[in-house]
Symmetry: C2
Subunit: 213 residues, 2 copies
């Protein structure tokens, strides 16, 4: 099978929140992580790590906390009556994922060292965080593109940041690391397909903010 | 010309810091931004913006501040005598870029709304930042992959975060936005090529931190 084109991959990579429980071969998992680390790394430090949670106990722990936060966030915020149908479907899929997170075959946690020493030493905390996140999230994007190319579905989620300390303690993650993203991985129940985006024209500014074309 | 494969693109996308001054067609610039926004966006808010600085005055302003911070960061930190040749070359290329940043045809600033309202409202600031950065940096990665596929060189940089307020004021960027990444864009003087990475095996953990294979 010929490799998917890079633009073809990007343009057909939408969030997939309904996943089959079928296991994923270890070789496939190694391949997506290897694609992940072939992304930029600030100062080439490569201070990242990827935890692949497949065991029932670990997935259950994550699901229970994730679902708890999800319910807390939704509590007392009834859906607007005029919510567009597409948004309603996304919300329902996200709720389904939260409730059934332990049923996906693999939960991937992308971890990164919290600070970038050359900037942190100099007191440039904002640049330090930008460098850390400008390294780990491009790796996550490569992982998601690799998933799409290999027929796996996934979605980037951040709700785990609301119980990050408990999560780190439970999985033995060192204090100096953060858990930057949580990605459920699995074969999709639905189809890949295009993402809907506002036209690029509206968010391109020439020379300075607000200057169009 | 056939589209580059997605893995081929990832694996041959290294940081390119020496760029030709030749202009980049507007169509090419629109194409890379459009690829950028076909990436995940937290809550599909798409609260991002991309400024393409081509005019001499804007590039000069950015270069002067960037080069100032670069020199400040290097001051009093002589290179270790035993620095490996590859690291020395990277440092020299980065210094060359900093000093000549105004000579690249386009400086791209990737901007994002600083907070993600659903988390910020609930007091989950860590999740809010993760969602913002988990949206803008995947877009940046798509932009870099699109650059590679279209024959453009670039590198993600964050030094501008050390003069972010001055930069925002100079370009009229609203207070609620951050400038997440600065990417010089241009046709490469050198060649594309593989990145050097530690083997994936070392950074994969199974089930929990520290558990190997």
């Amino acid at each position: 099978m010929a490799e998917l084109g890079v633009f073809e991959t990007m343009y057909s990579m939408r969030a997939i929140r309904r996943l089959k429980p079928d296991p994923i071969p270890e070789d496939t998992l190694r391949k997506i992580i290897d694609a992940g680390i072939h992304s930029p790394s600030g100062g080439n430090l490569q201070d990242w790590a990827f935890i692949l949670v497949r065991d029932a106990e670990g997935k259950r722990f994550i699901r229970d906390h994730y679902w708890g936060i999800w319910q807390k966030l939704q509590a007392g915020r009834p859906l607007p009556a005029n919510l567009p149908a597409t948004q309603l479907r996304v919300l329902q899929a996200a709720a389904h994922l939260a409730e059934h997170l332990d049923e996906v075959p693999v939960i991937l946690l992308a971890c990164a060292r919290k600070d970038y020493p050359p900037f942190a030493r100099a007191g440039y905390d904002r640049a330090s965080v930008a460098t850390v996140h400008g390294s780990i999230y491009p790796a996550v994007q490569n992982i998601m593109l690799a998933c799409r190319a290999l027929g796996l579905g996934t979605v980037i989620t951040t709700i785990h940041c609301c119980f990050e300390e408990e999560l780190k303690q439970h999985l033995g993650i060192p204090a100096e690391m953060e858990v930057s993203a949580l990605l459920p991985l699995g074969y999709p129940q639905g189809k890949f397909g295009p993402t809907t985006r506002k036209p690029a024209e509206g968010i391109i500014h020439w020379e300075r903010w607000g200057q169009k074309g």
